[in-house]
């Protein structure tokens, strides 16, 4: 079946691996993972983390690559089209629409954070951060002014610190690269961007590990104690009984690998049946784990401890606090601060842009395939949609409320839903035996047989358990010590007397986006149905002529 999509593809295996790894490696690798590991006691956390990687992260990656390539062979490149081909029911395309809605909506706020990274790299290079001194409060205040966290509209007002200029640059850069296409745009960028990111991280790691003791009056704040703060295990057995630790570890694996985004499934649809996916998926996942554990786990929290001691504990629970309030001060006080500060924030910028690029491709693929737009039209339309969304988030910047609300409901809640759909379709709709066979076409590696029951039974059950725990803790506010439920701010912001207008507007905005994509999906479905019907008539005519 033909869908009239412009023909594109990857140019090399290493290129697609770098692109998928680039999609997975993001700010969470360097800011969220180390904070969680230190917070929960790294011994127990790493046991839960690697367990989740083995039975949740890697199996879902294999499932996404397999389903994407399978549907790609049938002519579909967009998530709605892919699920239309996989589920073989009209509702399939609407379920698949999530795979376009999620990445495009996440892009709207992710590109803003990306602009912070580039802005901080620039400010580091020009001495704008080292001038702030050694008090973390000055960096907190700088961040609040920079992103407009104290007042709605501040980020785009003349009194801001110029974040809008950096936003314009990164927004334009994303769309220039995406316009160049899959191979000459995303792949070409990730093929140098990912190695550059790793080299930068290794240079910074070498600097952090050789810092020794910075202040002789505080001998306890040395590199060994800093590594100990990050890696010393607590009471492992006791900590493993904490369901919140499992939720945090599984959530980190899940979000870090970019599973359930709709990105990997789209990327894989451009592969042919002869192309390996088992080893490629494992390599992309291992690149992400290398960046997260070996680089992220060794750099950020230990560096922050060296300068702040145990006081850093008050900041590691939030990626924004660690990344944009504490670490700018840490790098500003380090010898050769301009160089290392710039290197670190440029590293974050690279991690962010390789991810944001991947969020645009599912939207581009959908507009091209569903509405039969050409590349220029689809880039223009997606640019307009995402620009409106980003403007909304930048304007409602007070307490980063709009960003936080959309991240919670789309970037977390919807992700669980989409990942569940993927693993259920793999194991139960396509069928684990058929999907297993499909995964091994052209494979350079065989998946060990014990993964078959894991992918059919364990993975969906584990995902469901984590999802239920997430709802209990993060939505309904279950307090383990008292057993009481107190709905979290994400719920009370929307329902009840203390609602937030911005939170309600944010959810309203998301609903508008969802409606747009569903209407577009319906239009695309009519085209696909007509194509399928025309194809059937052609086949019947051929058969009659043959007789």
């Amino acid at each position: 079946m033909t869908t009239g999509t412009p023909k594109e593809g990857w140019s090399s295996r290493i290129g697609v691996i770098m692109a998928v790894a680039g999609s997975a490696v993001g700010l969470g690798n360097f800011l969220r993972f180390p904070g969680l590991a230190a917070q929960y006691g790294s011994g127990a956390f790493m046991i839960a983390y690697f367990t989740s990687l083995l039975i949740l992260g890697i199996p879902i990656c294999w499932a996404e690559w397999t389903l994407g390539r399978y549907a790609g062979q049938r002519g579909f490149r967009s998530s709605p089209g892919i699920f239309y081909a996989l589920i073989r029911h009209p509702v399939g395309k609407y379920i698949g629409a999530l795979g376009a809605i999620i990445p495009v909506t996440i892009y709207m706020y992710y590109v803003y954070i990306e602009a912070w990274c580039l802005g901080y790299a620039w400010k580091s290079a020009t001495g704008g951060l080292s001038n702030l001194g050694g008090d973390v409060a000055a960096y907190v205040s700088f961040w609040e002014r920079f992103v407009g966290a104290t007042e709605d509209g501040l980020a785009i007002s003349p009194g801001s610190n110029g974040v809008i200029l950096f936003l314009f640059i990164v927004f334009a850069l994303n769309f220039v690269i995406i316009y160049r296409g899959l191979s000459r745009g995303i792949e070409a960028f990730c093929k140098w961007g990912m190695p550059a990111l790793m080299v930068l991280a290794l240079v910074i790691l070498a600097r952090v590990l050789t810092l020794g003791t910075l202040d002789p009056s505080k001998p306890d704040q040395n590199i060994l104690n800093a590594l100990g703060y990050m890696w010393n295990p607590g009471d492992v057995v006791h900590q493993l009984r904490n369901p919140q630790l499992w939720l945090a570890a599984a959530g980190q694996v899940f979000f870090s690998l970019s599973v359930g985004f709709g990105v990997v499934i789209t990327y894989a649809s451009y592969l042919s049946q002869k192309d390996d996916i088992v080893l490629s998926a494992l390599t992309a996942s291992s690149a992400n784990e290398f960046c997260e554990v070996a680089l992220g786990g060794m750099i950020t929290v230990p560096a922050a401890f060296l300068f702040m001691g145990a006081a850093v504990g008050g900041f590691i629970g939030s990626s924004f606090s660690l990344g944009f309030k504490v670490l700018p001060m840490v790098f500003a006080r380090m010898p050769f601060s301009e160089f290392f500060g710039t290197a670190f924030f440029f590293l974050l910028f690279l991690a962010a842009i390789t991810s944001s690029l991947s969020m645009l491709q599912p939207g581009i693929a959908f507009l091209e395939e569903g509405l039969a737009l050409n590349r220029k039209q689809s880039v223009a339309l997606l640019g307009l949609i995402t620009a409106l969304g980003t403007l909304f988030i930048v304007y409602f910047s007070k307490d980063v409320k709009a960003l936080d609300t959309i991240d919670f409901w789309i970037g977390t809640f919807m992700l669980f839903v989409m990942a569940s759909v993927i693993i259920v379709v793999f194991g139960w709709v396509v069928g684990v035996d058929k999907a297993w066979e499909e995964a091994h076409r052209g494979a350079a590696l065989r998946i060990p047989g014990f993964f078959k029951p894991i992918m059919k039974y364990v993975c969906p059950l584990y995902l469901l358990t984590i999802f239920v725990l997430w709802i209990l803790f993060k939505v309904l506010g279950w307090d383990l010590s008292t057993g009481e439920f107190k709905p979290t701010g994400y719920v009370t912001d929307l329902i009840g007397p203390e609602y937030s207008v911005v939170a309600r507007l944010s959810v309203g905005f998301v609903l508008v986006i969802i409606t747009f994509f569903l209407i577009t999906t319906a239009a695309a479905g009519r085209r696909w149905d007509k194509n399928r019907s025309d194809q059937r008539v052609r086949n019947e005519t051929k058969a009659e002529v043959g007789q």
Binding site: P6, K7, E8, G9, W10, S11, S12, R13, I14, G15, V16, I17, S42, G43, M46, F50, R180, G181, S183, R184, L224, N225, L227, G228, M230, W231, N232, P233, Y270, L271, S272, D275, D276, L279, S280, L282, T283, S286, A287, E289, F290, E292, V293, A294, G297, M298, E368, L373, N374, R375, K376, Q377, G442, A444, L445
Partner: protein
């Protein structure tokens, strides 16, 4: 840093480094490493 800390760090970092190096080695030595994937064609912007 305690002995437990050294063990946790070494096992965690060692595992991910080992896995990554092994995967890259397998990819680079596999016959498909430099092969053309999917018959890449010129970017079709659909404007012709």
């Amino acid at each position: 840093m305690s002995t437990g800390g050294w063990i946790t760090m070494s096992l965690s970092v060692g595992f991910v480094v080992g896995l990554f190096v092994w995967c890259i080695w397998r990819v680079m030595t596999a016959p498909q490493a430099d092969s053309h994937l999917h018959g890449i064609e010129d970017i079709d912007t659909g404007e012709d």
